[in-house]
């Protein structure tokens, strides 16, 4: 840990990082655009310039060098002394901020980035109130550069982050800079739109409002959004995200920095994988079918009803005829509650891992970003629990097979998949043979139609808990929304089913789990970025 002096303050920096990064990590607000720790350094915005002490060529004494150095390009060296608080540096910052606004349209009132825009922030903190240019601005065009993205190049500051992202991280290189001088524009090549599985990140990377997400376009002002820490349920890697929401609605999903998994990025699947939460087709009412017509039922009656079903199915026996299908979309805590409750009522009940959706193959990108083929967040967590509970365990195929054989009197199926998953006749045929079928799912399906008890589930954004990703990392996620009207959080229902009173809290359940399963004593929460980093 080399010690360096910034503005007279000694700080310990991580070895090998640029001075800018060290300053940001020490909590200093150094303006910068082109620098991003995940991308190559180009030192082109010239906003982070600093003064540095160098040995005088004649006397050898350390003096402030006449030149300003880019702090993003200068690596930390033990004993170095630099400063940002000086007239020279401040004057440069002020001039550069003035340059940025020369041809900027100043259309903040209609800009999606307003409120989280670093052109606004730095102009406020480092710029001047007015411009000295009296000539007319020239205007670069607005462009549609891909199926999900717009480029307003009149707002662009040509930091080149997006270009470097497509070259280095996505490896697709759709973006490039064209033209010269202040007519510089970011653009795509003719016939090659910006369309790759990571492209949405360029919108987050853009420090200003040049790159815009069509999905979020004119949707909300960002200062009206609340951010909730969550984990994306779209694949088994467990990409950490922020859900930006207000008034019971999600408006966008952005990456949450995670040094272990997804770093600064998320896949487009994760970014746009929330629309099912607001689908009109979701189940909204628990239904009980006592042969023939279904009847709506109140949530209060349900824990008793489900327990009764299980008890009746167990009858005089030991419960070998009971099976619980734990979906890999469930949080560890929910699965643990349900499995434990069922095993209490039916000690020899079969615990099964639900249907695991897999699409294609794992997709790897140049710098190590991986999009998993397994499109569920918690297969590994459910497997860990099955191993822990022991006894009769099987997987989805096993359940169907046994059901055809007529081995089960009761099957409790938890679904929760964002897409339609009961597409195979064999599923409905096999489970149709089961006397008592309980289905707990997000959407209506042929299976839900068959169920004696059909429970509407809550989506991941309406629940809390933790997912164990494909590498065994347990990451908690918070509840962003309250469940739809008529729907109860899955965890809350299992909590009540287990005969507990009060509110389900994932952390409390985790504490109990940890007594049996030490792995759950500690969950992984990635450290946030320094306050002024972006």
């Amino acid at each position: 840990m080399p010690k360096i002096i910034i503005d007279g303050q000694e700080i310990e920096a991580r070895a090998g990082v640029p001075v800018l990064q060290a300053a940001l990590e020490a909590g200093m607000n150094v303006p910068h655009y082109c620098y991003h720790p995940g991308l190559a350094v180009v030192a082109s915005c010239r906003l982070c310039l600093m003064e540095m002490k160098l040995p005088h060529p004649k006397t050898g004494e350390a003096v402030w060098a006449p030149k300003l150095f880019p702090s993003c390009q200068t690596p930390v060296k033990a004993g170095m002394e630099v400063r940002f608080e000086s007239d020279k540096v401040r004057q440069n910052q002020q001039r550069v901020m003035e340059y940025y606004l020369l041809n900027h349209p100043l259309d903040c009132p209609v800009c999606d980035k307003a409120g989280e825009c670093y052109l606004q922030d730095y102009t406020e903190s480092h710029g001047a109130a007015t411009s000295r240019m009296v000539e007319d601005k020239h205007k670069n065009p607005k462009k549609d550069i891909g199926p999900h993205t717009l480029l307003y190049s009149d707002r662009c500051v040509v930091c080149g982050r997006c270009v470097r992202f497509t070259n280095e991280i996505a490896g697709t290189g759709e973006l490039a800079v064209t033209n010269r001088g202040s007519r510089n524009e970011i653009d795509v090549f003719p016939g090659v739109p910006l369309d790759n599985p990571l492209q949405g990140n360029v919108v987050d990377l853009c420090p200003v409002g040049a790159l815009l997400d069509k999905d979020f376009l004119f949707r909300q002002r960002v200062w009206m959004l609340r951010a909730t820490r969550s984990v994306s349920p779209v694949d088994s890697r467990g990409q950490t995200i922020f859900i930006d929401h207000n008034e019971h609605g999600i408006h966008r999903v952005r990456p949450r920095y995670n040094d272990q998994v997804n770093e600064w990025w998320i896949s487009d699947e994760a970014r746009f994988g929330w629309h099912h939460v607001h689908s009109a087709d979701r189940l909204r009412q628990p239904v009980v079918r006592d042969g023939g017509q279904g009847a709506a039922v109140r949530w209060e009656e349900l824990p008793g009803r489900v327990r009764q079903e299980i008890v009746q199915a167990v009858g005089e026996g030991d419960g070998a005829g009971v099976a619980v299908v734990l979906s890999p979309m469930m949080a560890c805590e929910e699965a643990w509650l349900l499995a434990r409750c069922v095993r209490e009522l039916a000690p020899r009940a079969t615990l099964a891992l639900g249907y695991v959706p897999v699409r294609g193959e794992d997709e790897s990108f140049p710098r190590g970003f991986v999009i998993k083929a397994e499109k569920c967040p918690n297969r590994r967590g459910i497997e860990t629990l099955l191993e822990h509970f022991g006894g009769a365990t099987t997987d989805w195929g096993g359940v169907l097979h046994q059901a055809v054989e007529g081995a089960y009197k009761l099957v409790y199926v938890v679904g929760g998949y964002p897409d339609e998953w009961v597409t195979d006749r064999r599923i409905t045929d096999a489970l149709g043979k089961v006397e008592r079928l309980i289905v707990h799912d997000l959407f209506s399906s042929a299976l839900a139609e068959q169920a004696g008890v059909c429970l509407p589930a809550a989506s991941w954004a309406e629940r809390e808990g933790s997912f164990m990703n494909c590498d065994g990392l347990i990451q908690p996620f918070d509840r962003a929304l309250s469940p739809l009207e008529g729907v109860k959080g899955d965890g809350q229902f299992f909590w009540e089913l287990a005969g507990e009173a009060g509110l389900y809290r994932a952390a409390r359940v985790r504490e109990r789990m940890a007594a049996e399963l030490p792995a759950f004593a500690e969950v992984f929460v990635p450290q946030g970025l320094p306050r002024h980093a972006h």
Partner: protein, 475 residues
Amino acid sequence: MKHVGVPNSTSLEVYKSDGGYAAAAQALRMKPAEIVELVKKANLRGRGGAGFPAGLKWGFLPPGRDVTYLCVNADESEPPTFSNRVLMESDPHMLLEGILISGYATQTTVAYIYMRGEFIEQFHILQKAIDEAYAGGYFGKNILGSGYDLECYIHRGAGAYICGEETGLIESLEGKRGWPRIKPPFPAVEGAFRQPTVVNNVETLACVPHIVSRGVDWWLSLGHENSWGPKMYCVSGPVQRPGCYEGPLGITVRDLIYGEDFGGGMLGGKRVKAVFPGGLSMGVLRGDVFPRNAGAVDPKQDYDELDCMLDFDDPRRYGLMGLGTAAGVVVPEDVDIRDVLVNVTRFFGTESCGQCTQCREGSNWMRKIAGRLRAGAGRLYDLDLLEDISNNMGMMPGQSICGLSDGAAWPVRMLVQKFRREFEQHIAAQDPEAAERVLREINPAAYELPIVEGRATRSVGGTFQVPLDACGAGE
């Protein structure tokens, strides 16, 4: 330049008949390190503009390297400069011999000639010369039986000024956008294709055969302290004999314009108003008398700046950035200095690559201001503004990645400082009403938008009123 004008001077035959490639044969019998020593002793300074010693540059190459590239900078785009073009047109084999010797000295494996896109005829001439040299055994495998291999290719640029900057050139050579790289690492350590690379100007390399064949003593007999050897000068503008001339380093600007062997005096006996002696980016010299004090001319103190010697050090005493390309462009007395400013800023505004903010925005801002001054809507404040922008854009040492920003700012600052009085006279002579009309045309918004009291007030920025932030103007 001895073959210029000789019939068929581009052919290998003619070149060899005059002792061509003898220096190469001689050099290939020496050790590479000996040639580097020789060049260091001759203190051969780069002819491309910056004047960096070539021997020193070669010495930065890391020892024990496998691959070395030699990039020949033939992207000659500095406005009044055309000496490389003359060399390549008339004496291509001299360049090729220089490449061979320098390549051997630096143990280069491949030499690339990065040629400006607009050089079309020159490309065909040089390509033919290379083909001849290959056929004659001066390139390829086992050159002249020495066991040394060297390949030579021409890469044609697309006509960008910035690709004459050495790292911009390398990026462009690699097939990318010609954006200069951040340094370090310098090209000698990590250049083209991430390998050690030497980048030298055409004229620099063309000097090397003469150092080898005629010896260091002959070289040091030309020029003077720190600026040894011959140099190719260009002179353009309204002189009797515009063109490219060779002479020892250290002639004066007056020689270049009025010398019998050079420009031969001004056309029609006009007087000189200004001279850009080293290409546009190096700055400007005053050609008319330069009174120290307003009012009467004092013959003891006042002088024009035409006695500036064209060597590597003297121009700095006159506020220039350096020798540059030693290509003088002469501005006669009847030219409006505002036209000159428009011309200069237009060039750099178009040629800024757009990577660094200062250069990208600043150069175009200066261009707009210059255009407005020319249109007769100037303010006195604009002169301060131009100086302020140019100060921020880059004074040596600059604040951007490459030197273009310095090169764009320097001549503007020089023009404004040295010819301020003339600019002021033009502004004073403006018709205020016409000026306002022009300004309305340029930016109607400045007049149509309501101005919030307190934030931006109307202040007197020049000879007429324009909306302007009082605080901003005060700085």
